[in-house]
């Protein structure tokens, strides 16, 4: 069996009077890998994920398993791709497990499943993310980090082939950042998912990405293994900062910021 992969060719998308991405092409992304999108604000990272998820009109090709995702009907696309926005909205009067059950129940192929099967599956995903003890806690009583984990649970319970995560660690403390990124990596490998993650924390990208894509003004400034995409030179070009990428005492690469570039 050939390995499933995603390839983007000539993707153009954005808003009616402002094209954010123009003719963007990405190298092949393989199943079981984590691709991290980095870049300054307004570089087009979220736009790229939303375009792949069919949430923005787009031209070009997003090839997955020999099919152009952009040409699929929304329900068919939803069966393959799940997009997780940056935050879970406030003021939703549901419990944690209900949030996950809802994500499962709206999947076209899961509407006929028994309640018991759906409840057990939702509980299993919450346990996998170590938030099983919060199953019956109302969403509005969760901390920011816990809410991000529920949001991730909603995405992974659908077992998509392509998982798109928009800043999943933005509200998390270091422990929860590790929890989320290790869960993401584990899911990618165990479930054979193609995972694309938008991150602002470059050290997280260095630690968890198989591939890093650096976007600047809707164009790819660098792409490849983390140590090749995140360098002093690429960071200066993209972020206009002076930074060093050095190995720590334990051999891991770290970004150290020295200030703004002139």
């Amino acid at each position: 069996m050939t390995e499933r992969s995603l390839a983007i060719n000539g993707l153009t998308c954005g808003y009616p009077k402002h094209e954010v991405l123009k003719e963007l092409s990405l190298p092949r992304i393989c199943a079981g890998s984590v691709t991290v999108m980095i870049g300054p604000n307004a570089a087009g990272k979220t736009t790229l994920l939303r375009a792949i998820a069919g949430l923005l009109p787009a031209r070009g090709e997003v090839n997955f398993d020999g099919r152009n995702l952009l040409a699929l009907a929304p329900t068919e696309l939803a069966g393959l791709v799940t997009y997780m926005p940056q935050v879970l909205p406030q003021g939703v009067a549901l419990t944690t497990i209900e949030a996950v059950i809802t994500a499962l129940r709206v999947a076209p192929d899961r509407r006929g499943d028994s309640d018991a099967a759906v409840h057990a599956e939702a509980a299993a995903v919450l346990n996998r993310l170590n938030i099983g003890h919060l199953s019956l806690t109302p969403l509005d009583e969760l901390s920011g980090g816990q809410r991000q984990l529920v949001s991730l649970a909603q995405a992974i319970v659908r077992r998509p082939a392509v998982l798109l995560l928009d800043e999943p660690t933005s509200a998390l403390d270091p422990r929860h950042q590790i929890d989320v990124m290790s869960a993401v990596r584990e899911i990618a490998i165990e479930d054979g998912m193609i995972v694309m993650v938008v991150l602002h924390d470059l050290n997280l990208a260095l630690a968890w990405a198989d591939t890093v894509v650096l976007l600047v003004d809707g164009k790819i400034a660098a792409a490849g293994p983390p140590e090749e995409a995140i360098t002093s030179a690429t960071l200066e070009t993209a972020y206009r900062v002076r930074a060093r990428v050095e190995r720590c005492s334990q051999g891991r690469l770290q970004v150290i910021y020295d200030g703004k570039s002139v």
Binding site: R50, M84, L94, T95, T102, V106, A120, N127, T137, R158
Partner: protein, 367 residues
């Protein structure tokens, strides 16, 4: 820790205690218990509605008590023909209308709050009530209406037409790209002000008699009901509720935002269109038949949300029942607050609704 907090901790503990091996079952079981409590709450609401309905049909200025009312209703021994007429032509239609209108407005409010992602949305937020008032004002003050309509249907037909057209205008505007829930609410508010200004203009030129009739209409009254109107409302609900319930998971998913819902495969634009269609039908018919009834469409869903949350499997039926019960109680109060006087039910619902609404807002802020 307060009692609900302790309960929650206990239930969560049920899940944690079997963290190894049986954790999945424990979580699913604890959730199963929660579902049973919600079903029980729905049953309690239905019982409260039934009780309110019985007291409502047993109350009225003619002095028939509970026993006599039922004798008269079913033509049992000792009941006179007049008593039968009072029950079948006055009390029962009014009581049933109250329930149907309350159910329709509250269901419409619940759906509207979900699709507009706005807890302050109600059938009147988008100008449905104001449009209906303009239609009624045109009929009552200028005698403008559709040709060929019987005189008794002049006001409701006009009110319905204007209410429905107002929602269709909003539908057309919302179909434009980039029109989100916020824009829809703002457009609705703009329409409210526009219609209210036109109504004020008509009131300014109205004769004293027409003005009096119109003011009474705006107070909301179930006294002018009849079995034909009841049948129309019942059919509308019989169409709308199953359609809403069929969309229960999609509506619940929409609570997580448009992007997330679309990514889950929810056809958000189509869902909003058909929901607005149902809402406009329910709200326009209610306003057309009984005038302006405030707060039921706003407060009914809020009470339901507090009781059963926003899983729309429970939220939709609970909203329907809370609205119906509120209106039924308001109908009862409108007959009993001042003995011998039948107050317009719209006034009563507003008087009851305002304190509940304020309490809800304060409770929300206090969290």
């Amino acid at each position: 820790m307060d009692k609900p907090g302790e309960r929650l901790a206990d239930m969560n503990a049920q899940i944690v205690e079997a963290a190894t091996g049986h954790a999945r079952d424990a979580a699913a079981d604890a959730y199963g218990n929660l579902l049973w409590r919600r079903r029980l709450l729905i049953a309690v609401l239905a019982t409260a509605l039934a009780a309110s309905f019985f007291f409502d049909i047993a109350a009225g200025p003619s002095g028939l008590g509970l026993g006599q009312s039922f004798n008269a209703l079913f033509g049992l021994e000792g009941a006179t023909r007049t008593q039968g007429i009072i029950m079948w032509e006055v009390r029962l239609p009014q009581a049933v209308t109250a329930i149907l209108v309350g159910a329709a407005l509250s269901l419409a409010g619940a759906e509207m709050q979900t699709i507009l992602d706005n807890p302050l949305a109600s059938p009147f937020t988008l100008g449905v009530s104001s449009a209906a008032s303009l239609g009624a004002a045109l009929a009552l003050i200028l005698g403008v209406s559709l040709p060929g309509l019987p005189a008794t249907w002049l006001v409701p037909a006009n009110a319905f037409l204007f209410a429905f057209v107002s929602v269709m205008i909003l539908q057309a505007l919302s179909a434009r790209r980039g029109t989100g829930p916020d824009t829809l609410v703002l457009l609705g508010i703009a329409m409210v002000f526009a219609f209210n200004a036109l109504v004020a203009l008509l009131q300014f030129v109205a004769s004293e008699a027409a003005l009096q009739q119109f003011v009474f209409w705006t107070m909301g009254s179930i006294a002018q009901t009849g079995w034909t109107k009841i049948a129309i409302l019942a059919v509308a609900l019989a169409i709308a509720f199953p359609a809403s319930f069929a969309a229960r998971w999609q509506l619940t998913a929409l609570r997580f935002g448009t992007d997330r819902a679309r990514s889950f495969g929810v056809p958000v634009a189509r869902l909003r269109f058909f929901t607005l269609l149902r809402v406009s039908m329910l709200a326009a018919l209610s306003v057309a038949f009984v005038g302006t009834i405030g707060f039921v469409g706003l407060v009914g869903p809020h009470i339901a949300r507090l009781l059963v949350g926003e899983d729309h499997r429970f939220f939709l039926p609970a909203s329907l029942l809370t609205g119906a019960t509120m209106m039924s109680l308001a109908s009862l109060a409108s007959k009993t607050l001042i003995p011998g006087v039948l107050l317009p039910v719209g006034i009563v619902t507003s008087l009851v609704g305002i304190p509940i609404f304020v309490a809800l807002i304060l409770r929300r802020r206090g969290r």
